[in-house]
């Protein structure tokens, strides 16, 4: 049995223009110690699916699934307070905009210690020590001084490190990273990706990496799910995905990479579309 198992997940939004299916019947499963990348362009529903797992979607969203289990426990049927004991502890998540994702009114020390307090019952000095330790783990060496800093005093990369520290505070079994480096510079991206992968490896977490960037996939993933317009196009291990893509869409994505340009022009998704504008698997 997989650690996280999702079958036939559908998420629909009630919008002014009617019901909009952001995710349409996808299956996802992750095992411990595995890096799964979910890749797709904007509008492919890749974030929505994971926000549904976390229960972070707005009230306008309707989530249905045949199965949505974490370690055999049904996440959909579970009462809210039981779910809160899992969210943030066993499953943690980090987001795309690190500065906006930290509360501007509180010090980062407060925000890290808050998780420790919530799930581990750590308070006062014990919490502070653990927070410094966590900052050390994510590469912030002057953690003791940094605890009193506010998010606006730090760079985007530093804020993302703090977010990661908060996420791994309770030794989660699964870490979901939603476009964690999109807002960051290339050199910082590299550092954050390396940090995530090394933490995943060292603490034996499962890591779900949501991204639109094939480069990030190539650098981090073990297994890949390719999403397009709410549907799963392909699922494969990373090497065979790049070596021998099965779906037209994946082929299109890979050939649209400028570094793969053969000749003078880049093939685009349109070149791979079926005549009716759809995309065959």
């Amino acid at each position: 049995m997989a650690m996280l198992e999702i079958k036939n997940l559908t998420v629909a939004f009630d919008t002014a223009a009617g019901l909009f299916k952001a995710v349409d019947g996808i299956d996802v499963s992750v095992d411990g110690r595995e890096v799964l990348a979910i890749v797709g362009e904007s509008g492919s529903g890749k974030s929505v699916a994971m926000l549904a797992v976390m229960g972070l979607l707005p009230a306008t969203a309707t989530v249905t699934a045949d199965v949505m289990n974490f370690e055999g426990k049904d996440l959909l049927a579970m009462p809210a307070n039981q779910k809160r004991a899992i969210i943030g502890k066993e499953i943690a998540m980090i987001f795309q905009e690190p500065i906006a994702s930290l509360n501007p009114c509180f010090t980062i020390g407060f925000q890290i210690e808050e998780v420790l307090n919530q799930h581990m019952g750590l308070r006062g000095n014990a919490a502070r020590q653990r927070a410094v330790e966590l900052l050390q783990m994510v590469g912030i060496t002057d953690g003791a001084e940094r605890l009193g800093a506010f998010p606006h005093q730090m760079s985007g990369g530093q804020c993302q490190r703090v977010m990661i520290a908060m996420a791994i505070a309770c030794d989660p079994k699964l870490l979901i990273a939603d476009e964690p480096t999109t807002a960051l510079d290339v050199t910082i991206q590299k550092q954050i990706l390396d940090l995530l992968v090394s933490l995943q490896d060292r603490y034996g977490m499962a890591l779900i990496m949501i991204t639109h960037d094939m480069g990030v996939v190539a650098e981090t993933a073990d297994r890949v799910i390719v999403q397009y317009k709410g549907n799963k196009m392909e699922e494969a291990d990373v090497l065979s995905l790049f070596e021998n893509p099965q779906s037209n869409y994946t082929r299109a994505l890979l050939s649209a990479l400028p570094e793969n340009a053969v000749g003078d022009r880049l093939p685009t998704v349109a070149d791979f579309e079926d005549t009716d504008g759809g995309m065959s698997r």
Binding site: E41, S42, D185, V186, T187, Q189, K190, L193, D201, H212, D213, M214, G215, V216, V217, A218, E219, V238, L239, F242, E243, A252, L253, L254, A256, L257, P258, E259, N260, A261, D264, R265, L266, P267, T268, V269, A270
Partner: protein, 275 residues
């Protein structure tokens, strides 16, 4: 050799953060002594990370902001912008911005977006302006029926096409593209890059292409200039820079760029299973 389209000498831009009675004014050097020349029909890529001064450079060479010191020479004539930019000069330099959602006036129809430069800079009749705008609209891959629509009805890629069309309306000597594809999806990015290459081939356009994405730069550039904290740390032909980077920062940048080739992935997986 012909006169270069654009020549920049010791260009410099300082920002003075206004001091108060209780703190001294601080001077930030956003761009320090940048010099280069650009020949017609070529693409110069300016690479760097956020805050390296590449957008400040873009705004100076498009005459939006004034340089603190240094010279800008367009088509052999030195720009004297102290007393405003002349219309003749204005039409020679055009720019396309990164964010396709902010660069079009939400209250202006596409046709009027394209015809506005003609209205302001030429004495064409309305019918001529319309014809020319329509021709350009088709040229960038949009259709006639798009002429009377408002920007919110278009996707990011389509808007970027419109922005490119607007920039080309006055047959500029060169075009500055400030991160034109970094807000777009991969597949759309490919379409826009193709469009830029097609237009360059057809009209012999000259581009200054600002980007942080090395793979895009490698694809489109003839010459590459790497900027770091306001300074040019490396400048050369594309092949020279990519094959044999000289400066430490350039090498760091290359090392940080993700690799999607099979051998790199294999190497990574091998390292992982070995550990």
């Amino acid at each position: 050799m012909s006169v270069p389209v654009l020549e920049v000498k010791n260009l410099r831009r300082d920002y003075v953060s206004s001091g108060g009675p209780f703190r001294p004014a601080k001077v930030v050097h956003a761009v320090k002594d940048v010099s280069f020349t650009l020949e017609k029909g070529k693409t110069l890529a300016v690479v760097g990370e956020s805050g390296c001064g590449k957008s400040t450079l873009a705004r100076m060479i498009t005459l939006i902001d004034q340089q603190t010191s240094g010279e800008i020479i367009v088509d052999g004539a030195t720009v004297e912008a102290r007393h405003g930019v002349s219309a003749a000069l204005r039409r020679k330099v055009q720019i396309v911005f990164q964010n396709p959602y902010g660069s079009l006036n939400p209250r202006q129809k596409i046709g009027s977006v394209l015809a506005e430069p003609l209205l302001l800079n030429t004495s064409m009749s309305p019918a001529e302006r319309r014809d020319k705008a329509m021709t350009m609209l088709l040229k960038v891959g949009l259709q006639e029926e798009h002429f009377n629509r408002y920007p919110h009805m278009f996707s990011g890629g389509q808007r970027q096409r419109i922005a490119i069309a607007r920039a080309l309306m006055l047959n500029p000597s060169f075009l500055v593209l400030d991160e034109p594809v970094s807000a777009l999806d991969l597949s759309v990015q490919a379409q826009i890059l193709n469009l830029l290459k097609d237009l360059q081939d057809e009209f012999g356009l000259t581009f200054v292409f600002i980007s942080h994405d090395l793979s895009v730069v490698r694809y489109i550039a003839d010459e590459v200039m790497v900027m770091y904290f306001g300074e040019v740390v490396e400048h050369g032909s594309r092949d020279a820079v990519f094959e044999d980077p000289q400066h430490d920062y350039t090498r760091t940048l290359f090392a940080a760029t993700p690799r999607t080739d099979i051998s790199s992935i294999k190497a990574r997986l091998a390292r992982k299973s070995a550990a």
